[in-house]
Amino acid sequence: MKWSEPYESKYLRVDPQKRRFQISRKVYTDPQLFELEKKHLLRKSWLYFAHVSEVPKLNDFITRQVIDVTLILTRDRAGEIRAFFNTCPHRGAVICREPVGSRKSFTCPYHGWTFKNSGELQTQNAAFGYEEDFNADGNYNLHEVPRLEIRSGFIFVNFDAGAMPLSDYLGAAGDRIDMLAQHSGTGLEVIGGMQEYYIKANYKLMCENSYDGYHLEATHGSYIDYQMSRLAGVTQMKATGFGRGLDNGHACFEIDIMAGRPLAQWLPVWGETVRELIDEAKAELIERVGPERGHLISQVHRNMVIFPNSVMNDQQSIFIRSMIPISVNEMVVRAWPLGPVNEAPELRRIRIEGALSFLGPGGFATPDDVEMLELCQRGYEMGGIEWNDVSKGFSPGEETPSGEDKLMNELQMRAYWTQYDKIMSAIA
């Protein structure tokens, strides 16, 4: 989409000549719009659900909510990864009540129907009174989520059977997901300690915040002070970088900064042993993927939003977030740090430390983000002003979904909202 002419819809008001790009605040506050959005946007998009390392062995399972549905994710007896609606095809009880475990079959607690972890109904418990071929058409098997696809170990689901393939959907974001996986030659794993926290704000606000370079100084002054105290002896301090649109509403910012990470960015405060381990990790990476890609993977910090509700950050640690909308003005955020399988304990320690000191509900930054999102939500709900502004860096002729702009500008948000408008304005 190339923005040359003025444009106005229920959601956007764009005037390229005046270099203005505005979003209707209704997208954060209107309950009817939220229902439409669930039906036409969220239930038709690819949503990040889990990482393959969360079901490492045959018969492992997890249960987890996505939008307003709880799914059971299993690695079935044949090794296939599948996701089922966690509701009994008999009379509806929630079948699996544990968040994680290992099971060959699931028994519904209400009348005792039992299902294989591949979904087939196994027994009806006192099965007299039914036609012999009662389940011949499979109607009483567990119902599988219409689509599930895996990109480099990251499992996405889609409730729309006719959705485009995941790789088409991800567009230029796909290769950046591959880069996450390439951090390690041994594969990635989810590190224990999933964060799950409530925010009284619309879920899209957390997406906007996750790749917003503009807010860093004002919102995170106190974190930056802390980080400066740890960067003594580091020369390359200035952040240079870009916001980029990555097709289909995905976008990221990418910065070249020496902030410390267990892959190729050593900080003096970590000491010499860690320096050697980090040098080894870098050498192994370059050997495996070549110097150019090795540089992109190890030296560039990247905050990326996969439209509409998944975040894949690559900073001090690899950090994935999924925003679960609860109502028009409430969300639950789930966040997981990832690290290489068999990572050296010293590197694992600094990875965890980097993640938890910055990100997350007990860190030095995320709580301030949460406060900002709640302030925004309160501001919208007061009414009085109808439009938000994301014009920073906008000029006539911008090709928002795939463009490139300075780090501190708002191209990422324009990419998100252009896609949002495309989908929502097409609803009859």
Binding site: I191, G192, Y223, V332, I352, G360, P367
Partner: protein, 177 residues
């Protein structure tokens, strides 16, 4: 939450009554520092090799977890604890500006061991945080490792395990628990 730290004792522990009273006095004072937002005073209650930890929510064995291999909500050593206090004292710690009202209830103190220099104790906690006209509750258990310091104590380790499956609706642990 099942673990040795919080299981009922097999034998009565009357022999620790004096220690318990002293620990109760000490942590009631700690709570008073926190409720007054006197964080500079609070930090002086810790040893130089201290840790202050809040375990992740939704785990079965919070007192068996290692912060080097599992991501905690908070895993501060002395340095980060001081930085946390410096941050919270700034108005740019937006989440705590203006400061929330807090009330720390530390109760049911049990002495697990006392070797004369070091005391291991647990307490139940319920902390209230009020901000933006909303009150959140933080119920949990605390395990203290205290070292005797004259006629009082210093905290070598304070680990808080919340009785929560997730931070819903609390959203954050921006106060000291």
């Amino acid at each position: 939450m099942t673990n040795a730290m919080t299981e009922p004792s097999k034998a009565p522990v009357h022999r620790f009554t004096e220690t318990r009273l002293a620990v109760e006095d000490f942590i009631a004072d700690e709570a008073a520092h926190l409720d007054a937002w006197d964080l500079n005073g609070w930090v002086t209650l810790f040893t130089t090799d201290c840790v202050y930890e809040v375990t992740p929510t939704g785990v079965a064995n919070p007192f068996a977890l290692d912060p080097d291999t599992t991501m905690f909500l908070i895993a501060d050593d002395r340095e980060r604890l001081e930085q946390r206090v410096i941050r919270l004292n700034k108005t740019s710690a937006h989440v705590e500006y203006p400061k929330s009202l807090t009330r720390h209830l530390y109760t049911n103190v049990r002495i697990l061991s006392d070797n004369g220099t070091e005391v291991v104790a647990t307490a139940n906690c319920l902390v209230f945080r009020t901000k933006n006209r909303t009150t959140s509750h933080y119920p949990g258990t605390i395990r203290y490792v205290l070292v005797r310091d004259g006629d009082s104590f210093l905290i070598r380790s304070k680990r808080v395990a919340l009785d929560l499956e997730a931070l819903i609706p609390q959203g954050k642990v921006s106060i000291i628990l």
